[in-house]
Symmetry: none
DNA sequence: TCTAGACTGTTTGTATTACAAACAGGTTTG
DNA sequence: CAAACCTGTTTGTAATACAAACAGTCTAGA
């Protein structure tokens, strides 16, 4: 039978098993407020296309909420970590910690 | 600018950015002994084809060693976590933990 | 007033890859 | 000996990560 730690790892949200999305979710859950597209872009050093598609997926999975508004005349897209997203990150962290501890 | 934690994550071994392989490696590094194909199969609930290709990749990357022998007349394949593999797992898990910690 | 360039992000094309179905070789069973 | 059962491997296909190309808007300069 698989160890508890390993099973928890497999049960964590699939979207978080990509390093870019994990980094995105980490930033968003830290912020506790909306973060805009450009900030994420420069912080994570991604291309716009790549970030755009990752955010779309995260929204589809309900881990973030996308808000679009205008600042002056310019479009501005911001992202907010949902409760579900925060929970997913927590679950993932817990699983990783469990593996870490049991491997000492 | 990307955080230090994020950079560490980017430097982790590419093979571990798949949840199944991560689970396999976590399992093998915890076992500290050879684990056979069938055990991994039932413990991780995978199909044979899927497990086979993942193990092949992990061997090619030097993270596991594959041993083949016979038990009675039946073939038996076992997998052993290499030092490189153990190191890779530690690096990955530590980096992930750092990223997530920075967001709490 | 044009024209070039910068700032929004999105859509598309491609190369990689995860996955299970199909396969193959030997073994046990009836 | 034929059928079912173990080993795992090879294969075809669907999904996906990524950046290039695209599209719309705004601003600056000649």
């Amino acid at each position: 039978m698989a160890s508890l730690a390993t099973n928890d790892l497999l049960r964590a949200h699939p979207a978080l098993f990509d390093r870019v999305r994990l980094a995105i979710m980490a930033h968003l859950s830290l912020a506790k407020k909306a973060v805009d597209f450009t900030s994420l872009l420069t912080e994570l050093q991604l291309t716009r296309g790549n970030l755009s598609t990752h955010m779309k997926k995260l929204e589809e999975d309900g881990l973030v909420r996308i808000d679009k508004n205008f600042v002056g005349r310019k479009p501005r897209t911001t992202y907010l970590c949902t409760n579900k997203g925060r929970k997913a990150v927590q679950t993932y962290l817990t699983a990783v910690e469990a593996v870490l501890k049991s491997s000492l």
